[in-house]
Symmetry: C2
Subunit: 328 residues, 2 copies
C-alpha cells in the first residue's frame, strides 16, 4: 500500500578523524593495497570524542534545519541502530534529551535489525504517519563499529567506518511516498554474523576471560553466498509487485556491505553502475547508518533528485534481506 | 484510528526456580518482612538454565497453539524486550531459528523501549496488520533482570523477576481491536533509570574495573514522583480522546513497577481495585514482560474476558509513559 510520506530533511555526521588504509596496513602488518583490493574501502572515519548520541544529534540537527523544523516539532524519535549507547534507557530518549526536544512532546523508542534497522524504522514511521498517529518523525542511525571489532583481525578491522545519518519524515502531498517495503529473515544463517556479548547470554561482568565474546565476528564469504542466492528472487518479487523493472528505478542504494558484494548483487539484479549509489570507498561499512548516509550524500551531490524512484535495499545479520521503494 | 486486530493467542513462560523473600532476606541480611512491605513482591522466578530466546520460544509455542497456528504461519516476529540475548543478530532472528519458523517466511526485528517495549510493538504490529503489510505477527517479551541487578543492592535485587510472554496478533473481524495508543517521553528523567554499560559508551571489554556500569540502577522515589505527576493528565487526555471514563474500562493492566506505584497511580486515575490487574506479588517486576504476562494470567483466570475493554499502561525508563486501549 502506498504511504504518502516524504523525507522533509536528511542530514549526516562524520567523525573528524580519518583512518587511511596505509595507517591500518602498517598497524596490521598487511601488504600495501591489501585492504583496498579486498574490501573496496580506501579510508574510513573513526569516532574519538563522539558518542552514539552526539553523532545522532549532529545528524538530526542538519535534518531538522533542512526540513525547516525545530526539535519541538517532532512527535516521535526512533533510533535505528545496531547498538545502543547504553543498555537502559533506550538511545532515542537520550537523543530527545541531548537534542533539546521538549519533555513530553515526542515518543521515543529504539529499533534494531542490525544493518537494516533504518529501513525497518522508515517503514514503521511511514505507516504511523499514514495512519495519522504521528506527523513528524525523526529517525537516527548512529554507529560506532570501530569499538566492536577486534583491532587485530584484518577482515573486520578494515571494513567498517563510524558515521550517523538522520531523517525527518512527514506526510507528503506532492506525490512522494513509500511504495512498498519487504523484509525476509533467513535465520539458518543467523550465526554467520555475530556479536555474542553485551546481552543476557554473556553478561559484560562475566566475559572478562573471554574477550572474543565482545567482538564482532562474521563469515564474509558465507554471507556473500547467501546474499547472492536470495537477493535476486527477493528483488524480482519486490519489483514485480510494484510493476517496476530495474530500468524504472532511478537510483539503487544498497547497504554498503563490501565493494564486491555491492557490485555482484547490483549486476545480478540488473542495475547499471550509473544507477547504483556507493560510498564504501570513503566511508566503509557503517552498519545501519550506511543506507541513509549514502542516500544523504547522493542527494547532496545531485546523484539523486527529488521526484525520482529510489530503491533502498540490503542484507543484515539475521540473516535478513530487505528493500524499500520510494518516490523521494 | 481504530485498528481491527485481535490477540489470536497469548502465552507465557515462567522459570521453574522460585526465589522467596525469606531466601533473599537471609542472603541480604534484611529484617523478615522487609521486602514484602517495601515492594509488594512475595516471591519471583529466576532463570537458571533458561535464556532470553528459550523463554521467548516457550511462550510463543503456547500463544501459537492457542491461536491454532504454526510457526510457518507467522509473517513477522518482533522481540520487544529491554535487552537482547546477544548484541548481534537481533533476538527476533534467534527466535525464528529456535522456534523452527521457516527461513524467509517472516521478517524479524527487535524493538526496545524498556518496560514499555511490548506496548510499542503491539501498536506497531497493529498498524502493519491494519495496512495489510503483515497478517500474523508474533510479539515476544522475554526478560532476565536477575542477571542485571547488583545482587547486594536490596532495592533492585528484591524487586525484579524473570519471565516471558508472547502474543500472536492477527486481523479481527469480530469487533476486537486497538482503539488508541499514546506515548510520551520525558527525558529530563532519563537518568533516573539506567544501565550504563553493554552499549557503545562503556564497552564490555573496558568495564572490568567498573562493575557498577554493568548493573541496573534506579532512583525509585524519583520515578514514583514523575509517574504520579504525569500519569493523571496523560491518562485523562487518553481516555477523553476515546470518550471513555475510567468506569468504561473493564480492566486496567498496569506495568508492575512496584505495589505502591500500582496502587497510587490506579487510585489517582480513578480505577477501583477490582479493575486493576496485578501479579507483582508472585512475579515481581518483569520489565517488558510484565504487562503481557499480567494480561495472559488475567485471561487465563477469567479476570479479563474476550470482548471487554482493556487499557494497558505504564512507565518505562526514558522516562516514557504509554497506554494502549483494546477491545480484547
Amino acid at each position: 500500500m502506498f504511504l504518502p510520506v516524504t523525507i522533509a530533511g536528511i542530514g549526516s555526521y562524520l567523525p573528524s578523524r580519518t583512518v587511511t588504509n596505509a595507517e591500518l596496513e602498517t598497524r596490521l602488518s598487511l601488504p600495501a593495497g591489501w585492504i583496498g583490493r579486498r574490501t573496496g574501502v580506501l579510508e574510513r572515519r573513526v569516532a574519538e570524542h563522539e558518542t552514539t548520541v552526539s553523532m545522532a544529534v549532529s545528524a538530526a540537527r542538519v535534518a531538522l534545519q533542512r526540513a525547516n523544523l525545530e526539535p519541538s516539532d517532532l512527535d516521535a524519535i526512533i533510533v535505528a541502530s545496531s547498538a545502543p549507547q547504553q543498555a537502559i534507557p533506550c538511545t532515542a530518549a537520550l537523543v530527545q534529551l541531548a537534542l533539546g526536544a521538549p519533555d513530553g512532546m515526542s515518543a521515543c523508542w529504539d529499533l534494531n535489525a542490525t544493518c537494516l534497522s533504518f529501513l525497518f524504522a522508515l517503514h514503521s514511521a511511514a505507516q504511523s504517519i499514514a495512519l495519522g498517529q504521528y506527523e513528524r518523525v525523526l529517525i537516527c542511525s548512529s554507529e560506532i563499529p570501530s569499538g566492536s571489532v577486534d583491532p587485530s583481525e584484518p577482515s573486520t578491522a578494515t571494513l567498517f567506518g563510524d558515521a550517523s545519518a538522520a531523517i525527518v519524515l512527514t506526510r507528503s502531498n506532492s506525490g512522494a511516498g513509500l511504495h512498498s517495503a519487504r523484509f525476509q529473515t533467513f535465520s539458518s544463517a543467523a550465526h554467520l554474523t555475530e556479536f555474542k556479548g553485551a546481552g543476557t547470554l554473556h553478561r559484560p561482568q562475566h566475559t572478562q576471560d573471554q574477550p572474543d565474546l565482545n567482538y564482532f565476528s562474521m563469515d564474509g564469504p558465507g554471507i556473500f553466498r547467501h546474499a547472492l542466492t536470495h537477493m535476486k528472487p527477493f528483488m524480482d518479487a519486490f519489483l514485480s509487485s510494484l510493476e517496476w523493472t530495474p530500468a524504472d528505478v532511478d537510483a539503487f542504494v544498497p547497504h554498503q556491505a563490501s565493494r564486491h558484494g555491492i557490485e555482484a548483487v547490483s549486476t545480478r539484479l540488473g542495475f547499471t553502475a550509473q544507477q547504483v549509489v556507493t560510498n564504501i570507498a570513503l566511508r566503509g561499512n557503517c552498519v545501519a547508518a550506511s543506507i541513509p548516509l549514502a542516500l544523504c550524500e547522493a542527494l547532496e551531490a545531485g546523484q539523486i533528485k527529488r521526484g525520482q524512484r529510489v530503491v533502498l535495499a540490503g542484507t543484515a545479520a539475521g540473516l535478513t534481506i530487505g528493500a524499500v521503494a520510494l518516490t523521494i
